[in-house]
Point group: C2
């Protein structure tokens, strides 16, 4: 049989440099934001990501698995993260009508309130450390990286 030998994709230096820039920028901004949240005695960024995903979703609810995909966390990690956020009263688990295996995570009023307290800190961090240096080039950054996201199965 013909071997399914996928030719190894070659990587040019331009792409590598761009990738390194993504890594470096992400790490530095996240580090600053995490520090600012911590200093404000607020939960880490991961909480914001989860609460925000729920806020955007229909009925303010998502399956655990959907949540894990949305914020790129293992199902295991998301199960435990939901545990902690639920223990804080910021979301609650709810049965799924037609599928008794799974559970919804549903945003609570307290969760919305926390989202509103975290946002100003997060916003200021993005504005200062990311938006400032990026300036008018936000679209140039966004469009290609959105294709990277959309290409991920």
């Amino acid at each position: 049989m013909a071997t399914k030998s996928r030719p190894v994709p070659k990587l040019d230096p331009q792409h590598l440099a761009a990738w390194r820039a993504v890594l470096g920028a992400q790490a530095r901004v996240v580090r600053r934001v995490e520090r600012a949240l911590s200093e404000a005695e607020l939960p880490p960024l991961a909480w914001y990501d989860v609460l925000w995903a729920l806020y955007e979703a229909d009925g303010r609810r998502l399956r655990i698995r959907e949540l894990a995909d949305a914020v790129v966390l293992s199902p295991t990690g998301m199960s435990r993260l939901v545990d902690r956020i639920e223990a804080a009263g910021c979301l609650r688990r709810e049965a799924v009508p037609d599928d008794r295996r799974g559970a919804y995570a549903v945003l609570t009023a307290k969760g919305t309130a926390l989202l509103r307290r975290m946002w100003p800190i997060y916003e200021a961090g993005i504005a200062e450390h990311f938006a400032g240096p990026v300036g008018r080039d936000s679209a140039k950054v966004r469009a290609p990286l959105q294709r990277v996201i959309d290409a991920a199965p």
Copy 2:
């Protein structure tokens, strides 16, 4: 005295969307690459970052602190990471001539060899999951994000 009230920087939706794209793309590509390395029974990406930083450096050596800054890890975390990589024989600690507080991490031949084994996996991951979707727009991504990195103290 005049209060040092820094006006809160406002964040427009364009910048927020760009930031979300950075987060999403980084997380998805890193996840794939980590999985590929693990399947090839190779160490995680953090090892590559450290070995690469040493390889690039003058005399194939860097202070622990410089290493921590380069890959955005806490000094604590870097100290332990260096422990593990040293235990694997891929770097060694060495005294600093003029400063007896600190230590160099120095790349070993085994470290260079590991770098060479990891790179094809890493390269293929970047090429397939990042460079592919980015296409010709690598410079558009790189330049603004490099400014983000350079702005970080």
